[in-house]
Subunit: 83 residues, 2 copies
């Protein structure tokens, strides 16, 4: 069965996020003053062939650990649903 | 009231996604053959001060249109919840 798995990779909350700071500055220049904190990460969607939703998530987790995230600077969340 | 708004920016489905193709090649080299399609986008979280969830989403949508996405190549989705 095919599953569409979303992997969200975000910078750790304790770390400074320079890209987020840059976006915050840009938004403030555009007049969007009500935004006070910005964090920028990646969103990766995979189409995974697996016998169950749990196994699809396990494959995505392995992909995130081995290739898509840097555990020193980032954490990730995985969410799968039927494609 | 404070709202945490997530903006997901992804490449249009009709367009080739070279970064996704590269990730797919990397996953295949790692032995993850059950992954067949990869798309890579951005995930941006904003902390927005607004009187209602609808207005928080409207501010985030404005941020996405003016700064965070390129409508020629990307589409975006916005989702807000109480911070």
């Amino acid at each position: 069965m095919s599953y569409r798995v979303e992997i969200k990779v975000m910078p750790h909350k304790e770390l400074l996020d320079p890209q987020g700071k840059a976006v915050l500055g840009g938004l403030s220049n555009l007049g969007l003053q009500s935004v006070s904190d910005v964090r920028v990460g990646k969103n990766i969607t995979l189409l995974v062939e697996a016998p169950s939703v749990d196994q699809a998530e396990a494959i995505a987790r392995e992909a995130a650990e081995k290739l898509l995230s840097n555990p020193v600077m980032e954490y990730f969340e995985v969410h799968a649903e039927k494609a």
